[in-house]
Subunit: 200 residues, 2 copies
């Protein structure tokens, strides 16, 4: 048993944000090693060299802690530099989306979704939405507008569902074909679907 | 308790296919009323006025029975008549896909997926694949070829991922936005994505 005596036993007294960071790291570590079902508040507290009370003060439940750990660890999608054509820009975006899903937090998130019950799944799926799909939508809109300005995208490519195509297809083939989206498959989607859809 | 005495107590002695039909109907009825978790072999046997033995002779488990009931009850996607343009043909296909998902078996299938565990979910998702998405892929390919012959689809619209776009987008918005695909949303997808993607 790991008790609150650990709070003071850590190397030096850690302040709020530092301790919080250590707890979130330990939660992600537990998640990646023992998985969602076996993760316990005790185990995370031990991993972070603190006591359970320090966890419960911040997160009322294991689901709250895990959601926060995944949310903060998921790499941001970031920006896509202008690579000179909408084809290259969108290809880079897909590679970046794949990187996010293959990151440690992205993999842990997918594993949790395969393990947790339906109530929790809705919440964790929300993290993929807010951390990946929503920013991807914004970014796709930006890359399409960049293409319109550049002249390699038709000026009327403004429909609200255009930004769905890439995230929808990435989710679809991942779910129904177990696809990990190899480079050639991304190229196939960009050249076979996105470029014909958008070209001027 | 409903015992095997019911086997002979049904109105007249039913033969194999007729009894099987009655059992599958009763399973779908149970599924639509009490749901996956509360469905029992006993309850289905009672509903079909037969004994549990008649069920277990044909389906080793509740999951086998339910999968068979859903598979046989899901309406076939069928064919799409030539409506004169790829726009109308694809719109009709989407309406038909929506009808399949809104059918009694389609709704039961979605409900089961929200209730069952991960092992069973993979199997039941397979039914959506084989009963809806796979035939939709075939049909989209057919409608695109029809459009090429007609002249309203570009002749090089032959990429392997083209047939993914509609099923992927329908699944995506259903899952992440809870969309039921209103007529206007289907029209938006056809006019904003599919027609620009395919037009000659």
């Amino acid at each position: 048993m790991v008790g609150s005596r650990w709070s003071a036993a850590s190397p030096g007294r850690r302040r709020g944000p530092e301790l919080e960071r250590a707890i979130l790291d330990a939660a992600l570590e537990q998640l990646s090693t023992v998985g969602w079902n076996s993760l316990t508040m005790e185990g995370v507290a031990a991993g972070a060299h603190t006591g359970k009370a320090a966890l419960y003060r911040r997160w009322p439940s294991k689901a709250d802690l895990v959601a926060d750990a995944l949310r903060t660890a998921l790499p941001p999608l970031g920006r896509i530099a202008d690579l000179g054509s909408v084809r290259e820009d969108l290809y880079a975006l897909c590679v970046r989306m794949r990187e996010v899903m293959r990151s440690r937090a992205g993999q842990a998130l997918r594993a949790v979704l395969h393990e947790c019950d339906h109530g929790h799944a809705d919440r964790f799926r929300g993290l993929i939405w807010s951390g990946l799909h929503e920013p991807a939508h914004g970014l796709i809109g930006e890359l399409v507008r960049r293409g319109i300005d550049r002249g390699d995208v038709r000026p009327d490519a403004t429909g609200p569902l255009l930004a769905d195509v890439i995230p929808a297809m990435m989710m679809y083939r991942a779910k129904v074909c177990g696809s990990e989206w190899a480079d050639e498959e991304i190229a196939e989607m960009i050249d076979g679907v996105m470029v014909p859809l958008l070209r001027a």
